[in-house]
């Protein structure tokens, strides 16, 4: 295990709205190393995406505020960087991919132009990307790089496709282009926010395979934000389960999925039908995600938890290790070895 690439420390995020102040992130901590693919899972509204955007410092502020916490990227606290310094990191050190490939490409510009723009911007901060080429030469080098990147993400006839517009591509192809764009600046950390949700299963499998291959090739760290535990199981090395702005369980995928310790993780898994689930025996999870403006005291999952006791309603439980690299924030974790929802 190498040095920490990214270390999120007790990150708090609030959003002001008509109804009041929402405590969207409530002490999120996460450590990502090179070569790791972290899956961040949870129901909608639990703060997964905002965690991802916070790393790139892309959350509109106001209404967002960060009352506490730090995000360290190779030891530098990103929270203390200026926007200009931050911009230098984006694309070159931290790449991002978003959910909807149809809306994330500028419809009025050619694919090539968009790739080249990113490459040039990245070369501005790290001239090695275009091997130090300048001016016109840089443009030519950027174009060549764009072709290489497209080929790398599996687009055939890449040189000709540079002159195409986004709407001439299929959804999967567009997502490949977006991945190429995210990777063209050779980032060390890739944040992929639901990169396959809008795609069909067969395409999803291809894209996930592509991502895995790229991480192996480039020795980078990845944060894969998804609501689909299946995707995590298939793709990730580690997983962080989030609930209502908190990370409630982290650990290697094998550990967490085989032996989920947090009742919420268990409930999530029980809700997914598998080969073994018999008709009518799926376990639902009663209730809804709590109101983040007036969150319940203590453990935010307590109102929906069948193991909750008095202590759970008092103070939020701290992350406690249960096994190697496996931690859980629960007063009553399920420690015994058992298979979920047998």
């Amino acid at each position: 295990m190498g040095e920490a690439l990214l270390q999120i420390d007790d990150l708090h995020l609030t959003m002001s709205s008509f109804d009041g102040l929402a405590h969207v992130l409530n002490g999120v901590s996460l450590t990502v190393r090179r070569g790791e693919i972290w899956g961040v899972v949870g129901e909608s509204g639990c703060g997964k995406s905002l965690t991802g955007l916070s790393i790139s410092r892309l959350v509109q502020s106001p209404p967002a505020r960060y009352p506490a916490g730090a995000i360290r990227f190779e030891g530098r606290n990103l929270m203390s960087l200026s926007q200009r310094e931050m911009q230098a990191l984006r694309g070159t050190r931290i790449g991002m991919i978003f959910q909807d490939p149809t809306t994330n490409l500028n419809p009025t510009l050619k694919i090539g132009t968009q790739l080249i723009d990113v490459a040039l911007a990245a070369a501005h901060h790290d001239s090695s990307i275009l091997s130090g080429a300048k001016g016109r030469e840089a443009r030519r080098a950027a174009r060549a790089l764009a072709v290489r990147m497209l080929e790398q993400v599996g687009i055939t006839d890449a040189a000709a496709r540079l002159d195409s517009y986004p709407h001439e591509f299929s959804g999967g192809m567009r997502q490949r282009v977006l991945i190429a764009m995210a990777l063209i600046g050779r980032p060390d950390l890739l944040i992929a926010d639901e990169p396959t949700t809008a795609l069909d299963v067969s395409v999803q499998a291809q894209i996930l395979a592509l991502l895995r291959g790229i991480v192996a090739d480039h020795d980078m760290g990845v944060i894969l934000i998804t609501h689909n535990l299946g995707v995590v199981a298939q793709t990730c090395s580690h997983v962080a389960v989030m609930y209502a702005g908190n990370v409630v369980e982290t650990g290697p995928v094998a550990q967490v999925i085989d032996r989920p310790a947090h009742p919420y993780t268990r409930a999530l898994m029980a809700a997914i039908p598998t080969r073994e689930t018999r008709r009518g025996e799926l376990q639902g999870l009663a209730g809804t995600v709590p109101d983040l403006i007036r969150p319940p005291p203590g453990c935010r999952f307590a109102p929906r938890c069948n193991r909750a006791t008095e202590i759970c309603r008092g103070q939020f439980p701290a992350m406690t290790p249960t096994a190697a690299g496996h931690s859980v924030a629960c007063y009553h974790p399920v420690i015994e070895r058992e298979v979920a929802s047998a």
Binding site: F18, G280, G284, L285, A286, G287, T288, P290, D291
Partner: protein
């Protein structure tokens, strides 16, 4: 086994319908400009109703003249001076509110009515009927509206009703296009498909499901259009095809005042400023309404 029974509903309890209104009002109040607009509109509507009664010289509003007091500059007795027949400009301006506001309402209302029928039918029926109605709408839109209104008004002769009718006849295409767009949009909504799947008749689908969901943008457009309708009314008056004397009307007053510029500037100031403030009021109000009623159209 089933969790059906123990559903708890934290949101449902916390969000009664009234809160939607409160939220809208809150957002409206947030914008100081919308409040200014509402206040101005209130003042305008107040004068539209009571202007004739409150005018300091009601006899002038009814057509009375005092030629001995022609062209008096502003004074305490006549804050905006007197005009070419010795009439109190302030009184005429106050009373003129009624005509402008009524005409504006009339134009917008008739325009909306025609436009909604045309656009509603076109959007809902689709096919060749849509094609014919919309080609006709586009055609009408192609004719410069002010010239069309002037031609119709000139043909019908001066008078309040004729003027309103003339402007309305050049006003409806905008609504027809808006309503058609909204109807087509709503027609594709899943809840409309749902209604059709239930077996709802076309009439029911149109009146129960589609039109109610097009109301907000129509209301917003109406409120935004009020100002422009008032401007057009005044424009016709300015050209000289407006209401009949002695009905006080701002555009006509301005047109008359124009011949006496710059020496007798005061006869122009009151009607011009009143017109400006009225239109500002309706426009600000319309912007505010759009922000709460039609978030899609928000800036």
């Amino acid at each position: 086994m089933s969790d059906v029974a123990d559903i708890s509903m934290p949101h449902a309890e916390a969000a009664p319908r009234r809160e939607g209104l409160a939220r809208g009002w809150f957002r409206f109040r947030q914008s100081r400009l919308s409040m200014v607009g509402a206040a101005l509109t209130f003042v305008v509507l107040f004068f539209a109703v009571f202007g004739m009664m409150l005018a300091p010289y009601p006899e002038h509003v009814a057509g009375g003249i005092e030629t001995g007091l022609r062209f008096l500059p502003p004074s305490w007795a006549h804050p905006f001076g007197t005009n070419e027949l010795g009439q109190d400009v302030l009184s005429l301006t106050m009373a003129g509110t009624t005509v402008s506001v009524l005409a504006g309402f009339g134009v917008v209302l008739i325009g909306t009515l025609i436009g909604t029928v045309m656009g509603g039918i076109a959007g809902f029926a689709g096919g060749w009927l849509d094609e014919i109605l919309m080609r006709f709408t586009d055609l009408t839109l192609t004719i410069p509206s002010l010239i069309l209104a002037m031609a119709i008004a000139a043909a019908l002769g001066p008078g309040f009703e004729n003027m309103v009718l003339a402007i309305s006849l050049s006003w409806w295409p905008g609504y027809a296009r808006l309503v058609r767009g909204e109807v087509i949009g709503a027609r594709e909504e899943v809840y409309v498909t749902a209604a059709r799947a239930i077996g709802a008749s076309p009439t029911r689908v149109l009146f129960r499901h589609i039109l109610p969901n097009c109301v907000s943008p129509i209301i917003v457009k109406m409120s935004l259009d009020m100002g422009f309708a008032i401007l057009t009314v005044a424009g016709l008056g300015f050209i000289g095809i407006g209401v009949r004397p002695p009905t006080p009307e701002w555009g006509t007053m301005l047109s008359n005042a124009r011949s006496y510029m710059p020496d007798i500037w005061w006869t122009a100031m009151a009607p011009g400023t009143a017109m400006f403030l009225t239109v500002v009021g309706f426009n600000l109000l319309g912007d505010g309404l759009r922000d709460i009623l039609d978030p899609k159209g928000r800036r």
